[in-house]
Symmetry: C2
Subunit: 431 residues, 2 copies
C-alpha cells in the first residue's frame, strides 16, 4: 500500500526541488485583503465591530471572569492538572536561563554604551481553538512571558459552544495569564493591536493561528510588534536503514494529525525503508481517530525523499528548514549537529515530537514555512526589549567629534555636525 | 518667533493624547497594495521585471564589482576613511558582547533541552539612498552581521546618477559586505526575498527604508524574515529649567534634518524653556543648509509638550516610546533610568543624538512609530537564530509519558499519545 509519495532527490529538476523546499507562510492575497479590511473596521469601530464579526464568523468576544477561571481549575481532571503543572514547571526551567543580562561597553574613554533589557508591559497571546483545544499552547505562550516578568499577559482564544472550554480557562489560570478573553480570528488580533472600548492595546502579539490570524498579525505589525507569521505545522524525519519503521510511521502520523495541510517529510538514503514505513502507517491507521483524514493528509502533504548519499540527504534537510526535525539514524548526534535550520530537533529513537509538544520544556511555538532559516522558537527574549543607553562626558565627545563631523559631512547633515561641535564650543566660551 | 507647536499635557483630551502618542509605521493601504503587486510581479518575472521597474522608478539593478569596491576605497577621502574605520571599530566593540551562548537544561533525569545559536547563512541589508548617502547605515547593518559570523552579507542600495555613490561602495567594502548591489525600492526587497536569475534569495532582510521599502518588507515577511517595519526617524527630548536651550534646539533640528516627516518632541515642565528653544532654533537656522525645509519640518512635526510635573512628563515620554530619547535635566541619570520604552537613550548634555548615529558604537537602526514599546535596536542576535535540541533516553521518556498522554488526550490527538507509548511498548516487547 502506498501512503507516501516518493521523490528521488537526484532526479528532481531545480524547479521541482525549489517547489519542494521553498514554501511560505504568506496567506494568499485575497485572505490578506479581506483581513486588512477587517482590521481597518475594528480600528475605527471598536467593540461593536468585533462583536458583529464574532457573530458572523464565530469566536465570541468577552472577557472571562476571574471566577470562571477559578471554577475551571477546581473542576479540572486531576491527571490533566498534574500534566499541565508538569509542563509549566518544565517550560519555566528551560526558559529561565534565557533571561538576558545587561552589558556595558566603553568604546573610548568617556563614552559608554549600556544595553538594558526590560520586560514588555502588556502582551497578547493568541491561542487557536474553535474545533480543538490547545491548553499546551497556553503554557507555551504564557509561561515565557511570566519568566520575562511581563505585568499584563492577555490570552485570547475562541469560544466553543458559547464559552471558553474549561481546560483552556484552567490552563490560563495555572500558567499565569492576567487577563483571559474569548475571541478569535482577525477581529481579535485587530482588537489586541488597536484596542477597543474594553480592550487596552497590547505592545506585542504572539502565538499561532490560521491564515486569517496570520494575515491579521502581518496587517497590524507596525502598530504593535508580532512574533512571527505562522503556517501549517511540519515535520522532517531523517532516517536510515537502522530506523524502526514503526517509529518513523507514528511520527509522520503525529504530524498529519496537526491538520490536513501539514507537511510530513521523510528523508532517507534507504528506499526500502519507505516501503516499510508505508506498511507501518497502514497498520497504525485503524487504531487512530480520524483515520481517513490522516490518510488523506499524508497522501496530500506527505513525501518520502530518497537520497543517494548521507550528504545529499543532510543538504536537503538543511534546505527544507523544517519546524520539527527528527533524527533516527545510525549516529543521530552527529547528524543532528549538522542541522542548523530547524525550530526543534529530536535526537534518536527515544525523542518523539510529541514529547517536545507537551513535556520537555522546549517551546512548541516554532518557525514554519522555511522561516527556520532565520528564526527560532518563541523565547523569553520575545517578551522583553533592549534599549541602548549612551553616556558621554566632555572628553568623550572631544574624542568622537572628528568621526561625527566627517560622517555628518559625508551625509550632508549639517545639524548633526553642529550638535557635536556646538557643545564643545559653548564649553570653551564659558570656560 | 514660534517654531514649535505647544501642547499642555494636562489639557489634552484622551483622543488628542492618543493621537500624539499612538502612531504607527504601517504604510497607507494604497502603498501596501501597489507594493504587494510589485512583489508578486518580481516573484514571477525575476530580473527583467526588476530592471523594468528600476527603469521606471529608479534605483538601478546590477551587482557592483569587486574592482569598483576596491577603487572606491582607494579614492576615499582620508578623513572619511578614518571616521568609517572608527565607527566600524566602535560598532564591533559594542556588538561583540551580544554574541549569545548556548545553554543546556535537564528538566527531568534523561531529558535535556539544549538551545543552540548559529549565524544566518545569507542576509540582505537595505540601505536607503537615491538623494542622500548613508555610509553610516552600511556600518550599522553590516558590522553586526560580520560579528555574528554571517557568511554572505548582501548590501542593496539605490544608485545615483547611474552608479552607487563612491562613499557607499567604500563603506560596504570596509564594513565587510560580501556582495553589493545597486538597486532600490520595493522591487529590490522582492528580489532579495524571492531571488531572481542573478540574485540568490536571502534568509532575512534588515535595514531602514521609505514607505515602499517598508511595505515590501511586510509583504515578503514569511518568505524570508525581516527585522522591523521602519517609519520616519523621531526624537523626544526631556528637558527642565537646567537645560541649555541651544542644545535642545540643535538636537531638535538634528531630527528635522532626517526628513520632513520626522517627529521632534520636546517634553518639559518649564514653559519658558520652550520660548528660549524657539529663539535658539531661529538663531541656528541661518547657519544650516536647507533652512526652509528644517523650519517646515519642525513646524509640521515638532511639538513642545508642557507637563505640570516631572512624573507627568516621564509618563508621557514612556507612552510615546520614541526611537531616540535625550535627557537634559537636573538628574539625567535618574530620569534616564525610568525610561523603559526607547530605542536609544542619551544621558545628559554631552550626549548628542548624532554621536549615537555615527560614533558611540550603538546601533542606529532602531524601532520607530511606537515599536520601541516592544522592540530594540538592530543587534547581533538579529543575524542568527536559535534551535532547540532535545535529547531523551528511555527513562526520560518514561518520566514524560504521563504528561504527554494526559495532554494529548485533552487535545484529542491520539497519534501524539501513541508516539510516546509505542516506544515504551516496543521496548518492553523486545526486552
Amino acid at each position: 500500500m502506498t501512503m507516501l509519495r516518493r521523490a528521488r532527490l537526484e532526479a528532481l529538476s531545480d524547479s521541482e526541488r525549489r517547489r519542494l523546499t521553498r514554501r511560505s507562510v504568506i496567506p494568499d492575497p485575497s485572505v490578506a485583503e479581506r483581513t486588512a479590511e477587517i482590521c481597518r473596521r475594528v480600528e475605527r469601530g471598536g467593540d461593536s465591530v468585533v462583536a458583529e464579526l464574532a457573530g458572523r464568523l464565530g469566536g465570541g468576544w468577552r472577557q472571562v471572569s476571574s471566577e470562571e477561571l477559578d471554577a475551571a481549575v477546581a473542576a479540572l481532571n486531576p491527571d490533566i492538572r498534574s500534566a499541565l503543572e508538569a509542563a509549566i514547571r518544565a517550560v519555566a526551567a528551560v526558559h529561565s536561563p534565557q533571561l538576558p543580562t545587561d552589558t556595558e561597553t566603553t568604546t573610548v574613554p568617556g563614552v559608554s554604551v549600556t544595553r538594558v533589557w526590560a520586560p514588555l508591559r502588556r502582551v497578547g497571546a493568541y491561542v487557536p481553538g474553535g474545533k480543538a483545544v490547545y491548553p499546551s499552547t497556553v503554557v507555551m505562550t504564557v509561561v515565557p512571558a511570566v519568566v520575562a516578568g511581563v505585568a499584563e499577559i492577555v490570552v485570547v482564544s475562541p469560544e466553543h459552544d458559547g464559552r471558553l472550554p474549561e481546560v483552556m480557562a484552567a490552563a490560563c489560570r495555572l500558567a499565569g495569564a492576567t487577563e483571559v478573553w474569548a475571541g478569535g480570528g482577525a477581529q481579535a488580533i485587530a482588537a489586541l493591536a488597536y484596542g477597543t472600548e474594553t480592550m487596552r492595546p497590547v505592545d506585542k502579539i504572539v502565538g499561532p493561528g490560521n491564515a486569517y490570524v496570520t494575515a491579521a498579525k502581518l496587517a497590524v505589525f507596525g502598530t504593535c510588534a508580532i512574533d512571527l507569521p505562522a503556517g501549517p505545522s511540519e515535520v522532517l524525519v531523517i532516517a536510515d536503514d537502522t530506523a524502526d519503521p514503526r517509529l518513523v510511521a507514528v511520527d509522520l502520523l503525529c504530524q498529519a494529525e496537526h491538520g490536513p495541510d501539514s507537511p510530513a517529510v521523510l528523508v532517507t538514503t534507504d528506499a526500502s525503508l519507505v516501503d516499510r514505513v508505508d506498511s507501518a502507517i497502514a497498520a497504525w491507521l485503524p487504531d487512530l481517530e480520524r483515520a481517513d483524514i490522516l490518510a488523506k493528509a499524508l497522501s496530500d502533504h506527505g513525501v518520502a525523499v530518497i537520497a543517494e548519499s548521507r550528504q545529499a540527504a543532510m543538504a536537503f534537510a538543511e534546505e527544507y528548514a523544517a519546524e520539527h526535525v527528527s533524527v533516527m539514524t545510525r549516529d543521530p548526534e552527529a547528524d543532528a549537529a549538522e542541522i542548523r535550520s530547524a525550530g526543534s530537533v529530536y535526537v534518536g529513537p527515544w525523542a518523539p515530537e510529541s514529547a517536545g509538544d507537551y513535556a520537555t520544556g522546549a517551546n512548541h511555538v516554532l518557525p514554519t514555512g522555511g522561516l527556520a532559516r532565520a528564526c527560532g522558537p518563541l523565547s523569553v527574549t520575545d517578551f522583553g526589549s533592549w534599549r541602548q543607553v549612551q553616556r558621554i562626558d566632555r572628553g568623550g565627545l572631544e574624542r568622537l567629534a572628528p568621526t561625527i563631523s566627517a560622517l555628518a559631512t559625508a551625509e550632508g547633515l549639517t545639524a548633526h555636525r553642529l550638535a557635536a561641535e556646538i557643545r564643545l564650543e559653548i564649553d570653551r566660551e564659558t570656560a
